[in-house]
């Protein structure tokens, strides 16, 4: 049952992404003759559609490398890793890893991290909605219990770590960004990406902060997370990091015992 249709679509699909394959037989123009030109319309539509989807999701990357280079890079990725879902807003999860080993781009060592920031931005944009804790909510916590605090993180929150000044480079290449010269060998930058309301926010994380957030996200207490941050950066500044995260809307609830959560005000 439907074997012919299956075989037919298999050969059609294979030739769509592999331009070295011949046009499948029986695909004809109005004269009844095989028409490669007509088949190539579908080839172009598929590849151009995927390039456009990537361009929409990675605008800063496109601006950094230029349109022509981006198209070539996006085409190579689309052919090698076509989407597995019709939800194209979600296309490009593997783009950073692909670009990291894409020969013509290896000299742009910071590029994969810029792509990771843009990917985190897209994920945050479409993530589940939730109401962030207001700073005033934390004022109610008794001082003697602060050490045991555990936080529920906002579902849109992502952390991107980079050995390069990726946040600075990203920021210069978004709409309204002002290009200036950047020493790509200057200190690495980590970013927290979160969307507490309508707008996605990308903030620089102070030293040790990425480790700290990751520990909180895994359910560790404030004390445990602080200890972990200090193993990475001895001068880790807890109050600066905590204030930044609260201002960013990174938390949606808190509790004390493991797995417990108070003050959680989620809107879904």
């Amino acid at each position: 049952m439907q074997q012919l249709a299956t075989d037919r679509q298999r050969e059609f699909a294979a030739a769509l992404l592999d331009a070295t394959l011949a046009t499948p037989p029986g695909l004809i123009g109005p004269d009844g003759e095989l028409s490669s030109k007509r088949f190539s319309v579908y080839r172009n539509n598929v590849v151009l559609g995927l390039i456009e989807a990537l361009r929409a999701n990675f605008p800063a990357t496109c601006r950094i490398v230029g349109d022509e280079f981006f198209r070539a890079m996006a085409r190579a990725y689309a052919v090698s890793e076509p989407p597995t879902s019709p939800m194209l807003f979600d296309y490009g999860a593997g783009f950073a890893d692909f670009v990291a080993v894409f020969d013509p781009a290896v000299s742009l060592s910071y590029l994969p991290d810029v792509i990771r920031i843009e990917r985190a931005w897209v994920e945050a944009y479409h993530a589940r909605d939730a109401v962030a804790l207001e700073p005033v909510a934390l004022a109610a916590i008794p001082n003697d219990r602060v050490a045991e605090l555990r936080f529920s993180l906002h579902p849109s929150l992502r952390v991107v770590r980079s050995l390069f000044p990726a946040v600075t480079i990203w920021r210069m290449n978004i709409t309204d960004g002002v290009p200036r010269s950047v020493d790509v060998d200057s200190d690495g930058e980590d970013a927290v990406v979160v969307r507490p309301g309508a707008e996605v926010e990308v903030r620089l994380i102070p030293p040790g902060g990425a480790e700290f957030i990751t520990a909180l996200a895994s359910g560790q207490s404030l004390t445990e997370a602080t200890r972990r941050a200090m193993t990475e950066f001895a001068l880790f500044d807890l109050s600066t990091n905590l204030a930044m995260l609260v201002q960013a809307g990174a938390f949606i609830g808190y509790g004390f015992a493991q797995g417990e959560s108070y003050g959680k005000t989620e809107a879904r």
């Binding site: 007509r38 579908y42 597995t84 019709p86 479409h126 909605d129 309508a198």
Partner: protein, 301 residues
């Protein structure tokens, strides 16, 4: 900072889509629409763009849905695929329909998935008994799962299959007869396919099962040529509706009367006034044709 999501009861008077003109909703126009509340018949969205868990797309669509009728247009269900429908995708569609209660739901006579891959295009099917059987099964499953009728859209095609044994229209007629689905008549696709396949577009419309048409699409195309220098039109949705297509639309409306008519403009998205002007023209055409037909009837023409 409250996101008013899912909390507002929909105004049921905005359920049915009247025989007016609408436009495809683009993110570029969200703010203008919310701020100015333009007079337009309805909005249509691509279902796949609203399958994320949350965020601004849902926020704006909720706001807009509260003031306008909505049509939901799927582009990724792959009804023509020689494999079972993606149940997860169907479930997501069902959730969207429950949440936004669109007046119409449509999908394409095409396929776009194979194995685990999604091809971002509407790929053609041969018109054979085998394809008819699988398309029929899939439409039955969609309508059973969603608990409502779907509209099937006629495709833009760039080539033909040597093995086809049905004409496109006979294939569509038989699909409607077997499944009870309705039709979305894309007049631009009629023009594009007719040019590419050397059919007469007026004859196509006259033979089309127009009684089942519940919505019309209009869009712009790009002109290219095949290896023999014959015109090869591409359904690009990146420019105004062509004059030939407007004429065909007038002909179609003369036959079926006014229908919910959508302007599709998906790439190189124009300013809101440009897009709105296309919808205004579609609506003016429906009014003019209506008057002409009533006049004809009055004088017994």
């Amino acid at each position: 900072m409250t996101l008013a999501l899912e909390s507002v009861a929909l105004d049921t008077r905005l359920q049915a889509i009247l025989s007016r003109a609408g436009v495809g909703l683009k993110a570029e126009h969200y703010r203008t629409i919310v701020a100015t509340r333009p007079d337009i018949g309805f909005f249509e969205v691509h279902a796949e763009n609203y399958m994320g868990a949350g965020g601004p797309p849902h926020r704006y669509l909720t706001e807009i849905r509260n003031h306008y009728p909505l049509s939901l247009h799927g582009v990724g269900l792959s009804i023509g695929a020689a494999r079972p429908l993606d149940r997860d995708h169907l479930r997501r569609l069902k959730q969207l329909i429950e949440r936004y209660q669109p007046g119409l739901f449509s999908e394409h006579l095409a396929w776009s998935t194979h194995d685990t891959r999604f091809f971002d295009d509407l790929l053609p099917v041969p018109y054979t008994s085998e394809t008819l059987a699988l398309v029929t099964d899939h439409i039955d499953e969609v309508q059973d799962t969603l608990g409502r009728q779907m509209l099937l859209e006629n495709p833009s095609t760039y080539l033909a299959f040597a093995e086809s044994t049905y004409s496109e229209i006979d294939f569509i007629v038989e699909t409607v007869r077997r499944t009870g689905c309705g039709l979305l008549l894309d007049v631009n696709n009629v023009y594009v396919s007719s040019t590419n396949q050397r059919w007469d577009p007026i004859r196509y419309l006259d033979e089309y099962p127009l009684a089942h048409v519940q919505e019309i699409h209009l869009a712009g195309y790009t002109r290219e040529a095949d290896e023999a220098g014959r015109p090869l039109l591409i359904d690009t949705h990146d420019r105004p509706v062509d004059e030939h297509v407007w004429s065909l639309f007038e002909h179609a409306i003369g036959r079926v009367g006014p229908k919910p008519t959508l302007i599709e403009w998906d790439t190189k998205v124009p300013t809101w006034p440009e897009l709105k002007a296309e919808a205004d023209r579609a609506e003016a055409t429906m009014v003019a044709v209506g008057k002409r037909e009533r006049h004809r009837a009055a004088i017994g023409y």
